[in-house]
């Protein structure tokens, strides 16, 4: 019973958060959610888990990039900076509404950055969490 209410609340919460998404952004997020559902225990994306993941210091990646924030900065409404010194557009979807709309671009950066920061590919569930977080900003 508690589990059903929890799941219902979660569905409601994600529906509210998702209401601001463009159809293209929703499609990008849904692709990762669908892939994560191959795990029967998977209960949907969590912006809160995504936030923790984004700000965490990870082991296993490269020494100079232990966290997403090394390049993207901790203020996700502000531009970040690459190691070569180029500006990176702010990560918050509300600041740059064109973000997270192209599945190939989103997957390209997850593929590159997960290897550099974590030393491994990110799971579909991790990508869905991070996207849910960034789309909520």
């Amino acid at each position: 019973m508690a589990r059903t209410i929890g799941a219902a609340a979660l569905l409601l919460a994600s529906a509210v958060a998702a209401s601001a998404l463009s159809p293209a952004q929703r499609a990008v997020l849904d692709r990762y959610v669908a892939a994560a559902k191959s795990d029967p225990e998977y209960a949907g994306p969590s912006a809160e888990r995504g936030r923790a993941f984004f700000f965490a210091s990870h082991a296993g990646g490269k020494a100079d990039t232990p966290a997403c924030t090394v390049c993207h900065s901790s203020d996700l409404a502000a531009p970040g900076k690459t190691k070569a010194g180029k500006a990176i557009e702010p990560m918050a979807a509300s600041i740059v509404p064109s973000r997270y709309s192209d599945p190939a671009t989103v997957e390209k950066w997850f593929r590159r950055n997960c290897r550099d920061v974590l030393g491994r590919a990110c799971s579909a569930a991790e990508k869905a969490d991070v996207l849910a977080f960034l789309l909520s900003l």
Binding site: K62, T82, K83, A84, G85, K86, A104, K108, R111, R112, N113, R115, D116
Partner: protein, 163 residues
């Protein structure tokens, strides 16, 4: 005194030659900028857009063959995009017919430099003149010595003026 009338005949070609040569020497290196939109987008996402004429084709092929370890970072692309960019860079490389080959001076044909800053030409142009000391880089806001446009502000358009 008898020779005076002949002097302009000697001086004029010299003057003409100086007029032709002087602008080239003063303006520094000119290379074709990247014109392909895919190359321009993908190759400038993290760093400045380097004109293809800054490296020989063999260097571009080597770089593009290992994007998973691109100067220490993962820069992987899908196979079709990788192939497209490789073809453009090699076709417009320093040793292609359409480029100025000055950058290849002193480079042995067997050498495959991956860094522009490893070219003997680049080293001669910069290091001997102390142009890329740590202090100069810091003053110019360059993160590394391959950040050409910290000093050559039109580098992405292929214009490398001496300053």
């Amino acid at each position: 005194m008898q020779r005076t009338p002949y002097l302009p005949l000697l001086v004029l070609p010299v003057l003409a030659a100086m007029l032709l040569v002087a602008p080239l020497a003063a303006d520094g290196l000119r290379l074709a900028p990247v014109k392909d939109p895919v190359v321009a987008k993908e190759c400038s996402a993290c760093h400045m857009l380097y004109p293809a004429g800054l490296l020989p084709a063999r260097s571009w092929s080597t770089i593009m063959a290992d994007l998973a370890n691109h100067f220490g970072d993962n820069a992987e692309l899908d196979a079709a995009t990788t192939r497209h960019i490789t073809e453009y860079l090699t076709a417009n490389a320093a040793d292609s017919a359409k480029q100025n080959r000055a950058v290849l001076r002193g480079l042995a044909p067997t050498e495959v430099p991956e860094r522009i800053t490893a070219l003997p030409w680049w080293i001669r142009k910069h290091e001997r003149k102390d142009r890329v000391t740590a202090a100069t880089l810091a003053r110019r806001g360059a993160k590394f010595k391959g950040d050409c446009k910290a000093c050559h502000q039109d580098a992405e358009r292929g214009i490398f003026d001496d300053d």
